[in-house]
């Protein structure tokens, strides 16, 4: 081969390499949330998902009814809390606001351009809207990434004393299970995005493609929350917390529960409640859409739901 030939071939390979780096993922609009056809239904029907939209002027009874702000995790949608809503509608007299995180439930591009503070904004927006309307028994239920988002809100003092009743954290992520996430700053820009292993059903409710920017945001968020827990802080008075953590979890390492238990105390200095669950599923409170659902998982889901509702009732 001549020198010119080698140079030419090298340039082709390099240009292919770089074009591959900046390539957009192959999104199927008809089947994937990432596309421009499928969106989270709370965007079309906010009054079906948010109590602040459903009841413009609550009466005294409604203001005293417990409201749970249920928030999903990274790359997910309001779907993650649908089963809890169905269960509590049948078994309890409570209102539920299913909040959609900023940048989520929309398109790949919108996800890519959102920071973790953007993700967090709708949580505070709904909380403030409910407070303004006079609801006096507001609780929070978060899964996975919703947990560090709310831990950050607590650390920054955004929830006042007696401003929340119960906080439920399901599989909080402070330490990731996939340790290679720690390298996202380095490998992310080279690869551009990562593809998740969604089931066919899950493709409508979870982003299939995760832009490296969003993984960087996730890593920044959990790193910050970890450091805040290291310094230590307390819940506002009148607020109770319970963590439900699967002992095996391929997304949120179970040691996340240890860090929260060590770093966050009740206002009187006592320990928060932690229940380690004999499950290998991440967010066992969401089962629909999974390929296999075992009866023992359904049993665990029911136990957790019942425990949450009992705590709300006994508040």
């Amino acid at each position: 081969m001549t020198h010119k030939n080698i140079l030419f071939k090298s340039l082709i390979i390099l240009s292919l390499f770089f074009s591959a780096c900046s390539d957009s993922p192959n999104i199927d609009n008809l089947t994937m949330l990432d596309g421009n056809q499928i969106f989270d239904p709370s965007i079309y029907n906010p009054e079906k998902y948010l109590v602040s939209q459903a009841i413009p002027i609550p009466n005294a009874t409604q203001k005293n009814t417990p409201v749970i702000i249920a928030v999903h995790g990274y790359s997910a949608t309001t779907f993650e809390w649908d089963e809890f809503r169905t269960y509590s509608d049948a078994n309890a007299d409570i209102l539920i606001s299913q909040v959609l995180l900023g940048g989520h439930g929309r398109t790949y591009e919108q996800f890519k351009n959102a920071t973790w503070r953007d993700w967090q904004d709708p949580i505070m927006a709904e909380y403030n809207a409910l407070r303004e309307k006079g609801y006096n028994n507001i609780s929070f239920a978060g899964s996975s990434t919703a947990c560090p988002l709310v831990l950050d809100m607590l650390q920054k003092g955004k929830i006042p004393n007696n401003g929340m009743a119960q906080i439920f954290l399901i599989d909080p992520i402070v330490i990731p299970s996939d340790k290679l996430l720690t390298l996202i700053g380095l490998v992310g820009p080279m690869l551009g995005y990562f593809e998740a292993t969604n089931t066919t059903a899950e493709n409508s409710y979870w982003y299939r493609f995760r832009p490296q920017e969003t993984l960087n945001e996730l890593m920044d968020l959990i790193d910050q929350v970890r450091k805040e827990l290291q310094k230590g802080y307390k819940l506002p008075s009148g607020v109770q917390m319970k963590i439900y953590k699967s002992i095996k979890d391929d997304t949120a390492d179970a040691v996340s529960a240890v860090l929260i238990f060590k770093g966050l105390k009740n206002s009187d200095g006592s320990d928060i409640d932690v229940e380690m669950i004999n499950s290998a599923l991440h967010v066992v409170t969401r089962l629909e859409g999974r390929d296999t659902i075992k009866q023992e998982d359904r049993d665990i889901q029911k136990i957790v739901f019942d425990d949450m509702l009992t705590r709300i009732r006994n508040n």
């Binding site: 299970s177 996939d178 720690t182 390492d253 040691v255 240890v258």
Partner: protein, 187 residues
């Protein structure tokens, strides 16, 4: 826990005994013996600090192969006055140092040992908190005129937690700096 404390005590005691020897003894089997402090940072996680010993033998690749023992812990690092997990790393290091006799020596090292994290509450008894350590690191060693050597390297833990097995705070990438004092040197 008492076993760990005993091991640590013996480790430190052996270093002190080594230091009690005079400089430049007339041994012919030990090359260079260094004792030092080691500071280590895990990418996106804790500072773990401690002690380290490094020794060579003239009969083993003419002092090019370095053997070492290290102990680094968050108890002397990130866990001081914080809620960071208290975890200990006991290491055996075997490294090959290039450019023998020169001041600046690149090196590559294989390390093995034991990792233990203390979760402090029986609520977490079911979680894995110990593991065999197996890592590779590579970097540069610089020997000053005074009997001080500095080693700086980046390393990769091959055996990390994964969510379904292994301790959660055992992460892949770390960086370490060791500052040694040469205690014994064959003439």
């Amino acid at each position: 826990m008492n076993k760990k404390k005993l091991l640590t005590f013996l480790f430190i005691a052996s270093i002190i005994c080594f230091q009690a020897q005079t400089f430049d003894t007339k041994n012919d089997w030990l090359g260079i013996l260094k004792v030092g402090i080691r500071t280590q940072k895990t990418q996106k996680l804790y500072w773990e600090n401690g002690f380290t010993v490094d020794f060579t033998f003239p009969k083993v690749l003419n002092n090019r192969l370095h053997f070492g023992l290290s102990y680094v812990t968050t108890r002397l690092g990130s866990a001081i006055g914080t809620n960071a997990i208290k975890q200990d790393n006991y290491l055996l290091n075997v490294g090959y140092f290039f450019r023998n006799q020169k001041k600046l020596q690149p090196f590559t090292r294989l390390n093995t040992g034991y990792f233990y994290a203390d979760y402090e509450s029986e609520i977490f008894d079911k979680l894995p908190n110990a593991a065999v350590l197996l890592s590779l690191d590579a970097g540069l060693s610089y020997k000053f005129k005074a009997p001080i050597t500095i080693d700086l390297s980046a390393g990769f833990n091959l055996n990390t937690g994964s969510g379904s097995q292994g301790p959660g705070t055992l992460y892949p990438i770390f960086y370490q700096l060791s500052v040694y004092y040469i205690v014994l040197k064959k003439k």
